[in-house]
């Protein structure tokens, strides 16, 4: 709608060929700028929210309510002296922040912001998302290795192990959504959601949420930058502008993954009223969830982190795919659908009811598995009885 209007205005004084080239560039310009602005605001928002959760006030001095804190921090970091350790591998050390930042922004090329509009509405959109985000493991390792610092190296190898382990359940959770929608195109996945897929695919959503938290290195999976163990992990040696880039990239990536979760599970731009408002609200809600995790959970150990990925999420996600495929076939038989016909809302609703039941059963079952039980009940069992 807005896109058509802009196009009309541009076409009134420019040849159509030029407008065809100009329109995507204009879109990219707006998307990138909005992203950078929201990343700066998110650093402030996280500090304020986590402060409230910890019964503190948080930054409230720069500007009204401290709103300009993010901008002030950026200004401070950019004007700091550029220090590269003498032992560092200079070219790779310089390259790593770019490797962090670029994929986080490039991810937004396929995210559908409105009905029928994304920067590039690729048919293999979700494959592009997976491909682009996997660069971050390379960046973490480049940063850790090039710093030539022991803390950085520990952070880097931990980070790579984590990113790589959680990529498998993540893609498997995405696959269960693709099964239901029958398309790799993000726009078509949104259109297929007569009911948001969080209801149809609750286990897939939970797996995706855990895996994305790990991919973003956010608490409880921040073992690669664990400040109480290894100083700052892979970015120990980074200062000034380069640190600002790494720090900002984490927030841009958090926004990007939240947008992908919203697209896959929460119905994307639906309901189609008010344009970007719904999409923005849902994305903010998911980002808030990550902040909330940080305010709530302690950090996991590396063996717990790997055990969670390989012993729980991977088999669960694989079985989930088989169950979902069987349900799709059953729905096709039950509602006598033609092969290739999209699942109607009523079929999705039936699958949703079955899957929510299954999820409750699985969660009830998992809480009885030794080692996965709640921490406090374990403590209570192991503590000596008091007389």
């Amino acid at each position: 709608m807005i896109a058509d209007l802009t196009r009309g205005i541009l076409e009134s004084f420019l040849p159509i060929g030029v407008v065809d080239i100009l329109m995507p560039l204009l879109g990219i310009f707006i998307v990138v700028n909005v992203l950078l602005g929201s990343a700066i605001m998110l650093t402030y928002a996280e500090r304020r929210l986590v402060a409230r959760m910890q019964n503190r006030i948080g930054p409230n001095r720069v500007g009204p309510f401290g709103l300009l804190q993010g901008a002030a921090d950026l200004l401070k970091l950019v004007t700091k002296e550029d220090l590269t350790p003498r032992a560092a591998d200079r070219p790779v050390f310089l390259l790593a922040p770019v490797l962090f930042f670029a994929p986080a922004i490039a991810l937004f090329a396929v995210v559908p912001f409105f009905r029928g509009w994304a920067v590039a509405d690729l048919d293999a959109g979700i494959v592009y998302v997976i491909a682009v985000t996997s660069v971050s493991s390379l960046a973490a390792f480049a940063a850790g290795w090039a710093s030539n610092n022991k803390y950085s190296l520990y952070g880097a190898v931990r980070g790579v192990a984590q990113l790589v382990s959680y990529e498998v359940p993540l893609i498997l959770a995405v696959t269960s959504v693709i099964l239901l929608s029958g398309s790799l195109n993000l726009q078509k996945i949104v259109e297929a959601q007569g009911i948001p897929f969080i209801l149809v695919q609750p286990i897939g959503f939970l797996i995706m949420l855990v895996a994305v938290t790990a991919e973003l290195n956010r608490t409880p999976f921040d073992i690669n930058e664990a400040e109480s163990e290894i100083v700052a992990g892979f970015h120990t040696e980074y200062t000034g502008t380069k640190f600002a880039l790494i720090y900002g990239a984490e927030y841009v990536a958090a926004l990007g993954w939240s947008a992908v979760i919203v697209t896959l599970f929460l119905g994307g731009w639906k309901p189609d009223i008010g344009g970007l408002i719904w999409f923005g609200l849902k994305t903010s809600a998911v980002v808030f969830l990550f902040f909330w995790f940080r305010g709530t959970w302690p950090r996991v150990r590396i063996d717990q982190m790997l055990a969670l990925a390989w012993k729980l999420l991977f088999p669960l996600a694989t079985i989930n795919i088989l169950v979902t495929a069987a349900e799709v076939l059953a729905a096709q038989a039950l509602f006598s659908l033609e092969p290739g016909e999209a699942l109607p809302v009523i079929a999705l609703a039936v699958i949703a009811v079955v899957n929510i039941g299954l999820t409750v059963a699985v969660l009830a079952l998992l809480s009885r598995v030794p080692g996965l039980a709640r921490f406090d009940t374990q403590l209570a069992a192991s503590a000596p009885a008091r007389g």
Binding site: P24, I28, E81, A106, A109, G182, L184, W310, L322, A325
Partner: protein
């Protein structure tokens, strides 16, 4: 927009994505030209200014050491299962059309993968400590 136009848009987005961090770094480098950002000349540099950080101690040895071999094991696991996962994507995208035959084929494949996975589990390849 036709398909090739989309890939041009992707390329433009990629260029923009690289340009943002690079331009910020260039900008802050220019700030030191106009003396807003401090620069220490190499001959006046304090001895410890660009030393590797090691909690305030003088660093011992290099950091390019061999790390725990278990990390390799998990990298290997990742390669195996990621290939499996890539195999799943085209199947899932066309599943609504393919029907029962595809389901049985993929179920067989996934069960084989899961059996291999259980074997690895049994062999304690997934344990951090043994």
């Amino acid at each position: 927009m036709d398909e090739s136009g989309k890939y041009w848009a992707i390329a433009a987005m990629g260029v923009a994505a690289v340009l943002v961090p690079v331009s910020l770094m260039v900008f802050s480098a220019l700030l030191s030209r106009v003396r807003i950002r401090p620069v220490t000349p190499p001959d006046q540099e304090p001895r410890f200014q660009r030393m590797t950080y090691e909690s305030g101690m003088v660093p011992t040895g290099t950091a390019n050491v061999q790390f725990n071999f278990r990390f390799y094991l998990f990298a290997l696991l990742f390669v195996i299962f990621d290939v499996e996962v890539i195999f799943l994507l085209p199947w899932a995208a066309r599943f609504l059309t393919l029907g029962w035959v595809a389901f049985l084929g993929m179920a067989l494949f996934l069960i084989l993968v899961l059996v291999g996975f259980l074997y690895e589990w049994k062999k304690e390849a997934l344990e951090w400590q043994r």
